[in-house]
Amino acid sequence: MSSARAERLVNLVLCLLSTRQFLTAERIRKIVPGYADVRGDEAFFRMFERDKAELRELGVPLETGRLSSFDTVDGYRIARQDYELGEIHLEPDEAAAVALAARLWDSPELAMPAHSALVKLRAAGVEVDEEQGRVQPRVRATDPAFAALLAAVRAGRAVTFDHQRGGVGGPVQRRTVEPWGVVSWRGRWYLCCYDRDRAAPRCFRISRIMEPVTALGPVGAVQVPEGVDLMGMVRQGVDPPPATDTARVWIADGRAHGLRRLARVVGRRSHGGRDGDEVELDLRNVETLARWVAGHGPDVAVLGPQRLAEAVRANWAAAVAAHTEPLVPR
C-alpha cells in the first residue's frame, strides 16, 4: 500500500470517527487530505468507492445514512462504540493462555487472523508475552473443508459437497445441505445441517467432507430452526450411550492393562488356576465391550452378565469361522 493511500485512509477513519453527523462524499472530498488533489468527479468517486470497500473489508463499521429527510444524498460516519474493541483486562495466566492460543494453528487461514487478533488485544493494552519456551502446542492443519463450511454457516447459504461415507476410501456421495452450525465435540469437528437429499437433520464429520464446498442459492436463505440444539444433535449421534448395567470380569495378573484402565477392582480371584483380579466395568454397549474382552483370549473371563459372555463366545466363533473358510472374492 502506498504511503499516500495509507495516510488518506487513516485520515478518513479519524475524520468519520470524530463526526456525529453523516458526512457526504463531497464534504469528505473537501476536508480529508488526499482527495482534494484528485482531478475530476469520476476519478474521485472511483477512489472513494475503493477506499470504502477496503475499510469495510477490514471490519470498520461504516454507517450510511441521511441526517434529515431534506438531504438528497447519503452520508457516512463511524459509530465509536461499534468501532472500538471493548474493554478487556487479562490476568498474567490468562494472557499466557491467549498467547498460546494465538500460536496454535499451523494453517495460514487460521494462523493469520489469530495473529492479527493478538495485535489488536495488545493495542487494547493487554500484555501478551509470546515467549512460552517449551510449551508449543501446534494443531495440525484443520479439516480442509472447515473454512468454507463456516463461511456458509455465517452467510446462511446452502452448500453442496462430496461426502466420504465411513471415512477414508469410503463410497463418495454428493450431498446438498442447509448448514446450521459447526460443532466441536471431543476434539473433532462436525457440521450440523438439514440434509436436502434425505430431507432430515443430520451431522457430518467435517474431516469426511471433501473439497471443494460449493455455496448455492442466495445469502441468508438458510434459516436455522428456532430452538435447535446443535450440540445435542452431535452428542446423540456420537456419544457413547449411558451405562445401563455393570459387567463383572476376571483379568489375569499382569494382563489387559487397557481394560484395567477402564475398570474398578472389586477383589482378588483366581480363574482356571491363574491368579487375577475381579473387576467391574460400565456396560454401555454389549458389542463394544465384547470386542474389547474377546481380544484378550484366556487372559480375561466374563463373570457376568450372561449376554456379554455369549457375545464374547460369538466373536470368537465368528473370527475362527472367518479364518477357516477359503478366501473367495464375493
Binding site: M1, S18, L85, V98, P113, V153, H257
Partner: protein, 384 residues
C-alpha cells in the same frame, strides 16, 4: 514478514497509536518486535501517523509523538484511543484456539484458558462464535497432566508410568521433556526417552503417574522434534504389515488405525494394509472384531486365529505359533524310533535262539540218521 500489503499495513497503523498510548516510553525495538516488523518499518509507520489527524490539521489536531533516545510516547492521539474491534475471522480463530486448548487437558492451564476465553468473548461482542458450538463444560484436568506441565515449565526431567496401547502394557520411563503439542484433538508430551534412547511422543491421557526429578531435563543436542505435519504415525522399519479384509460394519478400523493400500472390493467391503508393531496386538484386534475383519496376511497369524489358538492365548501367538506343531512331529518320530529299537531288542534273541536250536536239531537228526543207517547196514550185512 511483508510490511507493504494492504491488508497488513492499515490495520497495523490503526493499532499502533492505541498500543503506544497504553505503553508510554516503550523502546522502539520492543514495539517493532510485538508487531513482528523491523525497527525501520516501525519508524516509517510512525512518521506516517505523525502526518495524520483530525480535520483542520493544525498543530492540536494531528497525532503527536515524542521520541526520547530509543523510546517513543504518544502525546496526542487525535481520537484513536482504542483498537478496531476484532473481525469475525479474527475472533473465530482466537476463540476456537482457546476452546481447543480448554478441550485438550494438560497442554495449558485449562482454568486460565476458560477465564481468558470468557473475557475475549465478552470483549468481541457480536463477532464471537456465532454458528460455532463447542462442547463444554470441559473435562476435568487430571493431576498428572498438571504435574507434566509444571515439570516442563521448570525444565526438569521426570519419571513417568506410561500405558502403551500397542503393547497393552504399562511401563516406567525416565524422560527429558521437550514440548507439549496437540495433534488431532489430543495432547502429547514430546520427550527424550532415556530407555528407548530416542524422541518419543507420550499421549497425556495415558500418563498414569508422574514423579518430577530433581535434575534438569537434558535431551541430547541432536534430539530432533517430531514432524507431525503429516499426522502422528510414521511407519518405521520396526513395523510389520498385515493385509486385512474389512466387512462393511468394521470399516471404521481403516479410519482409526494407520492403513494404506486401500482397495474397495464392492458391497462396501474393503482391503487394507495395516501397520503394526506387535503380533499379539493384531490378533487381539481381529479376535475382538469377531469375523468383521479377516486377516489375509501374514499366514502364520491367519492360522493362529483359524485354529482358535488366539482364544487360548493371544500372547503366545506370533512367537511360538509353529513350535507346537514341530514339537509334536519330533516327539512322534522319537517315540516311534524308540519303540522300534525296543521291539527289535525284544524280538531278536528268541529268533537267534531258535535258529541256533534249529541248527543243533538239524545236526542232531543228521547224526541219528547216520547212526540208524550204520545200524541198518550192519543188520543187512549180518543177515547175509
Amino acid at each position: 514478514m511483508s510490511t507493504g500489503g494492504v491488508t497488513e499495513r492499515l490495520p497495523r497503523l490503526l493499532s499502533l497509536v492505541p498500543y503506544l498510548l497504553a505503553r508510554p516510553g516503550i523502546p522502539v525495538a520492543e514495539a517493532a518486535a510485538d508487531f513482528g516488523i523491523s525497527e525501520k518499518q516501525l519508524r516509517r509507520d510512525l512518521e506516517l501517523l505523525w502526518m495524520c489527524g483530525l480535520p483542520g490539521y493544525g498543530p492540536g489536531d494531528l497525532v503527536d509523538l515524542s521520541f526520547s533516545g530509543d523510546t517513543v510516547t504518544v502525546t496526542h492521539d487525535a481520537g484513536m484511543r482504542r483498537p478496531l474491534r476484532l473481525t469475525t475471522a479474527e475472533a473465530t480463530a482466537l476463540l476456537m484456539a482457546l476452546r481447543t486448548l480448554a478441550d485438550v487437558p494438560g497442554v495449558a492451564d485449562t482454568e486460565a484458558v476458560r477465564r481468558a476465553a470468557a473475557k475475549v468473548e465478552r470483549a468481541v461482542g457480536d463477532a464471537g462464535l456465532a454458528g460455532v458450538a463447542i462442547d463444554g463444560p470441559s473435562r476435568e484436568e487430571a493431576a498428572t497432566t498438571a504435574a507434566v506441565r509444571d515439570a516442563l515449565a521448570a525444565g526438569n526431567a521426570m519419571r513417568i508410568v506410561y500405558y502403551t496401547a500397542g503393547r497393552d502394557a504399562v511401563s516406567q520411563r525416565t524422560i527429558d521433556p521437550m514440548r507439549l503439542l496437540i495433534v488431532d484433538g489430543r495432547g502429547y508430551l514430546e520427550a527424550w526417552c532415556r530407555r528407548a534412547e530416542a524422541v518419543r511422543l507420550f499421549r497425556l491421557d495415558r500418563v498414569e503417574d508422574v514423579v518430577v526429578l530433581d535434575e534438569p531435563a537434558a535431551p541430547p543436542p541432536d534430539a530432533e522434534p517430531t514432524d507431525v505435519s503429516e499426522g502422528l504415525f510414521r511407519p518405521s522399519a520396526d513395523h510389520r504389515s498385515a493385509v486385512l479384509l474389512l466387512e462393511r460394519e468394521v470399516r471404521w478400523v481403516a479410519e482409526y488405525y494407520p492403513v494404506d493400500e486401500i482397495a474397495e472390493l464392492g458391497d462396501e467391503r474393503m482391503q487394507v494394509r495395516l501397520r503394526y508393531a506387535d503380533p499379539s496386538w493384531l490378533v487381539r484386534l481381529v479376535l475382538g472384531l469377531g469375523g468383521g475383519a479377516r486377516l489375509v496376511e501374514p499366514a502364520e497369524l491367519v492360522e493362529a486365529v483359524a485354529c482358535g489358538r488366539g482364544r487360548r492365548s493371544a500372547r503366545w501367538i506370533g512367537r511360538t505359533v509353529r513350535m507346537g506343531d514341530m514339537m509334536l512331529v519330533v516327539l512322534t518320530v522319537v517315540v516311534g524310533v524308540v519303540l522300534l529299537v525296543v521291539l527289535l531288542l525284544l524280538v531278536l534273541p528268541p529268533v537267534r535262539r531258535f535258529t541256533r536250536a534249529n541248527a543243533a536239531l538239524r545236526a542232531g537228526v543228521a547224526g541219528r540218521v547216520a547212526v540208524l543207517r550204520a545200524l541198518a547196514d550192519e543188520r543187512r550185512r549180518g543177515s547175509a
